[in-house]
Structures are given as structure tokens and as C-alpha cells.
Symmetry: none
Subunit: 76 residues, 3 copies
Amino acid sequence: MSGVLAEVTGNLGSIGYGLAAIGPGIGIGIIYGQGVQAIARQPEAYGLIRQNMILGFVFAEALALIGIALAFAFRA
Amino acid sequence: MSGVLAEVTGNLGSIGYGLAAIGPGIGIGIIYGQGVQAIARQPEAYGLIRQNMILGFVFAEALALIGIALAFAFRA
Amino acid sequence: MSGVLAEVTGNLGSIGYGLAAIGPGIGIGIIYGQGVQAIARQPEAYGLIRQNMILGFVFAEALALIGIALAFAFRA
């Protein structure tokens, strides 16, 4: 292995996914953190609150899943 | 394996998308987190609150989707 | 190993996972931080609150675990 500049292997898709997971990770935390606060404030609105927590979670999670798809789309 | 600079494969578009997804991921989390708080505070305004939560979500999500489009636009 | 510019070895998957762990780490912290606050505010809603804290934790944790899976998927 002479003349090799660096022995780093892997696909940039891993880094892309890693970056794409930062936002949703924090976002889901905020949704559920504020969500349980909302439940504590008004337990009788639990149906509406939970339904919107799940909806927001799905929207945020999608961003990370797109990162996985892109990693495989650009696989050399 | 001589003359190999690095065995890193992939497209920078993955990283670009990953970076583009950080903000919307956090932003969507804030929208839905604060949104369910608003629902808990005033459940009778549910229609208006939900409608604006969706609108904000769409605006934030668009930023990440542009990142995908750009990754494919600059595909070598 | 003469003439080598840098002796960096390893796989980008490690960096990808490291990045992927940032968001969920913060997110899970927010969930449990706000969660115990919610329990303190309304201990009688403990069942609902705890159940949603666990759910949010699982969703956020999954993002980091996907990062591990991806690191092995792109192993050279």
C-alpha cells in the first residue's frame, strides 16, 4: 500500500445520512418533549395532541429516511 | 493499489442534503412541539392552529426537498 | 510508508454514525427533561406521559441505530 494518500474507506452517503439525522433527532425530541407537557396541561385533549405528535414525528422522520435513500442512490 | 488517492466513494450531494435536512428537522420539531402546546392551551381553536402548523411544516420541508433536487442536478 | 501525506485510516461510517448520534442524543434529553417536568405538573397523568416518553425515545433512538446499520452496509 505504497503511494496511498489515505486509507480512509467508505461512502459519503454515511456522512450525508449522519448529518440528515441531526435535525430530525432534535426535532422528534422537541415534539415529544412539548407533547407530554401538553398532555400534562390538558389530558382531556389527549386525542388531538397525540394525533398531531405522531403527524409531526412522521414529517421529521421522513427527512432522515430520505438521507438513507440518497446514500444508496449515489452508491458508486 | 498504488496511485490510489483515497477509497472514498459517493457524491457530495449526499452531504449537501444532509446539511439541508438539519434545519427543517429541528424546525418541524419546534412547529409541532409548540403546536400541541397551543392545542392544549386552547382546544377550541384547533382548526386554525392545525392549519397553520401544516403550512409551516410545508415551508420548512421545502428547504430539505430542494436539497434533494440539487443533489441530482449536480450529479456528475 | 514513505511519501505518504497522511496516515489516516478508518471508515467514513464511523463519522457518519457519530453525526447521526448528535441529534437523537439531544432529542432524547429533551424528551426526558420535559417528561419529568410534565410528571411533576400532573402526576395523575403519569401513565399517558410515561407511555409517550418511551414512544418518543424509541423513535429518536432508531435514527442513531440506522447510522450503525449504514456504516456496515457501506463497509468496503
